[in-house]
Symmetry: D2
Subunit: 349 residues, 4 copies
């Protein structure tokens, strides 16, 4: 098994951990060494991730049994990785954190949005924000990566070229349609099927914390976006779509929008601009992205109002979490960026 790096997953029984495992098990340059779970210690990972049956005979280990590895993926609940990070950096040469603790570079902004003190603030600037499309060269050189929140990922990718090219005003409204897997693996009344099925639930009309990341990443050349998110949970397990309502600057045309996306994303393997004249799938649609690492982006100018509508979709567990992490790993280790992330998506589904 030459040339394989040893990789472990801290917190492998959740949805992000399971998705990481699914992707890493098919990666030709990776050996998955250990997967931890306090709750399922000693049980086969397939008890929790039944799709991996016949693919792996790994069992969960207790987190205290974690051994040294080349790369450690941390998939812990928010607030835990900042507690453990000082021990973890002795365990692994590189760390990719999928949680929220190291996404924001500024301690006080973190504390304002997350309403808790940051335990390891000196590391905040050591972590690179994990979206390769924006930070590829830094990720390549970094030891620590903090993957973006799923809602932030799709919003940033949708808006970045427009802001880079100075095409829109600062007031940005993001109307997000969310799926149930985003809330994680723990059952609550809110996720109880009779309540959650068929729901169109305005669970966070204002105040979504991913706004902080979006503001951080889209504050470019003095532009400071005013990000207002409204999040509505719909009857979907996996997937995320944002409808961004923005005001184009004076005289901006659809052609300018096209050019900005083309200029920034021309060579990106995982970005597709979807704006079709025919067919059913004229705009981005999360259902056909399930299992893929794509971010599909489309847009339409409102000919009556001074408004530009940008639509973008991802699989929250792949491009929004585990796929993004593996993409960053591929960049960090110089593997081809699409390795293990080539799944096409299904249609119909």
């Amino acid at each position: 098994m030459r040339n394989k790096i040893s990789v472990s997953i801290l917190g492998g029984s959740g949805y992000a951990g399971g998705e990481l495992l699914r992707i890493l098990l098919q990666h030709p340059n990776v050996e998955v060494s250990q997967v931890t779970s306090r709750k399922f210690e000693g049980q086969f990972v397939t008890v929790v991730h039944p799709n991996l049956r016949k693919r792996t005979s790994l069992s969960f280990i207790g987190p205290e049994k974690l051994e040294r590895c080349d790369l450690l993926f941390v998939a812990l609940p928010n607030g835990e990785s900042m507690n453990q990070v000082m021990q973890l950096i002795n365990k692994a040469k590189k760390i990719i954190d999928l949680g929220a603790d190291f996404r924001l570079h500024n301690k006080s902004i973190f504390e304002e949005w997350y309403k808790q003190q940051h335990i390891s603030p000196h590391l905040l600037t050591k972590f690179v924000y994990g979206i390769c499309e924006l930070h590829r060269s830094e990720i390549k050189k970094s030891r620590f990566v903090a993957c973006a929140g799923c809602e932030a990922t799709v919003s940033i990718l949708a808006l970045y070229p427009l802001i880079k090219h100075n095409l829109i005003e600062s007031k940005i409204i993001i109307d997000a349609k969310m799926s149930s897997s985003q809330a994680g693996v723990s059952p609550t009344l809110s996720s109880h099927h009779p309540e959650r099925a068929g729901a169109v639930r305005s669970y966070m009309p204002t105040g979504h914390r991913h706004a902080a990341e979006i503001i951080q990443e889209l504050s470019i050349n003095g532009f400071i976006p005013d990000i207002a998110i409204s999040a509505t949970a719909i009857d979907m397990v996996r997937g995320l779509l944002v409808t961004c309502h923005v005001s184009p600057k004076r005289n901006i045309t659809e052609k300018n929008i096209w050019s900005s996306y083309r200029e920034v994303y021309r060579n990106e393997p995982f970005i597709r601009i979807v704006k079709e004249k025919r067919g059913l799938y004229r705009y981005p649609e999360p259902k056909i992205l399930q299992g893929t690492n794509y971010c599909d982006i489309g847009f339409e100018m409102d000919s009556r109002s001074n408004r530009l509508v940008i639509i973008a979709a991802i699989d929250n567990l792949v491009k929004g979490t585990a796929g993004q992490a593996v993409q960053a790993m591929n960049v960090m280790y110089g593997y081809e960026e699409i390795t293990a992330l080539e799944f096409t998506g299904l249609h119909p589904i």
Copy 2:
């Protein structure tokens, strides 16, 4: 059968017609005389509306067999009622039209949005717009009522008190989550289950025609709203939720918003302000409104952005169509306004 009015339905095989029939069959003051359908002439209405089994033995008649009645409900595809209206006014003392042809009072605005010539423009000002909460006294006296579009109904009811009390700026973004019954009874590739199930389809990011009605109804005291709708179809058969993003005027508080709703809707039997601190259903939710004539309205101030989010939900086939029509009928004939519209809604569902 004293005191019953004779009522007929022109175009009874669609979803609006079926819903009308369901409601009217339980109305103590109504005798349903005839229900027309060209396609299903001679067949029992229960072949098309199987929920009405054991409730009615009516069969569809061909439209040319329509006889005189007290009240005629017209549930034809857009563009047809303006063709037939001159004959219909000889058939019925009163007419309630569920289509789009007579909602707009201005011929040129109709033609601009609907891209067709209006055949009976002289009647445009004879029809009263059918939302009782705004036009109760005119509906009481009128012979002709044009029911509002479902998307317009919920948006107008959500915004009217705020505009009446001068609380918001004119730029209004309406992000609508739509169900499949809104597209009617005819199968298309777009409504084909493998394509439509699980969809989060941006089928109309801009340009929704209901904007015209909303502008007409919310242009009050010189205020002219700038209405921008984005419509996303989600995996829902029945129901409609709008998330309205507006800018409150300076110094407006949540208390002012509360007061405006209370002042306008205090005595309305079908409006509920839903803004709870606990429970799962803290904001309006269309799934528990199925079959009801309620319009639930909630709101939240965005403490970071200068934004007010208003959320409103209805059953598009009831308050958005057939229930609205029966409510108008009740007002026209002096019946108690809630008659036959008392269904509570189900939970869980």
Copy 3:
């Protein structure tokens, strides 16, 4: 408020309790006095049952505050009503129990299937099994009624006329398609939306406890049915469909089947035989029964195998639970049997 009986609900925060409340609030002969919930004591019932907003200002009371009433509905978890029943019979003139404790008349059969001792076995024969279609005259005279399990209700109603007329062999396979509300209001991993949505889960391939009730009720004139249930949970919140595979006796024709249903159910207000040559809804379909008290029954002879397929559907929370209970109440008190149970069902939904 002349002629109204006072009714209370013990255990009113679950789905059965909520459905009872919905139905009873519109019953002209009933005054809902008290609704208990230990967990939600002091809170409005509408916090838990949001569909009842604007219909009731009742709050939950603690169970120890239950006062005397005419009729008590008991909607407690299985195993609890047999514990409390001796106190409850002092509180209410009549009791209708929605749980499993008093459905079986035989102590040892109860203990065999429920794997627990029965605390109040002397009352087992005092309770009448609550299906009015089979036990109307006994229910009329009884003080205690035990409503049938939902799966038992639909299976018994589907099979009873065939057995009464001696048309089928004893081996009966019931393939049941179940909804999530049947599992109650408590969230578990099994009901967690990401796991439960889209599921086709063989959660009980054999061993379903409702078999005991079905055997009890269908053991007629020496016939002892061999009931084998397989239960599959599908992505449905409310509703229940059984596909019963049975062997007709020699020379039995579809006409004989028709006759047996007609003879037994001719005057039943809530039974519909659904077997159509055209339309989409040729056989029973639970989705259009949501909220109704109907049991729809259809059948088809297999021309190649010696098999008769019987299909039956109900709303598990109405005809399968709360509606059945109110129907029994109507019979007990001599009210018109359909009172408060007249909802038609929605289409489309």
Copy 4:
């Protein structure tokens, strides 16, 4: 591009054709040459199969432009391939037919079940039935393969070891839970979302034509199965689950069942026996099989009735159609059998 075979798809705009394309585009030994569609001639395949964006620049060609190729996949509506087959055998060295025309070896049986005359009966015995698990060695040598129907595939795989080992009686009841993609790509009222969503539709209580294939394949050593299928359409786009109710022979234990499956399927890459004591996915579940070529099989003995319940699930478009076809191709050409069929499936989904 050494060593690649040229492959074309006749009838590439349907769901089977799209799924074939998805799988073949990632096959290292295959060059997809042409994909036909009369309706979409000249348009990019991605207009119809949007999941393939950025993966292929192929356009549909008219069927008359089909050129010679090594292997032709035929994905035409039932009844068409028998019409065209004589011309097609001049176009391609090998043919894999995904339709029903050449599955049955006996002309009169075909005509009895399909109610039409067979045009090319002399070829019926030239086609090998395409389930590799039963016919691997014949497929290896054959020029013509007829893939099994999806419902037949899962039923045959579930039952074959039991019959081979003489463990069950001949009377077999198959209760199938079906998805909407099985009905193909053409919209009808039956597939119209408002009607099809949430449905539990007994669309074929008896008479399913796949019974003929199942009887053919399971008639072993004088055993003639009596196959009775009931098919219920549920709210699922992709996937198929069968619950088979059979009678075990005297003294058969769960251990015998285990052994028979192990003996027959020990080395099969796509069969998994799923019968777990813990976890949520204790039995086969189609939702986690979406996109995979697995057939998962489980079982449970009924301790009260003399009944064995076998549960099996597949993705109808993969193992039930396109994946099965590619598996057969891999066998025919000596490629590793799992090539291009390695997708794991997603969880949650």
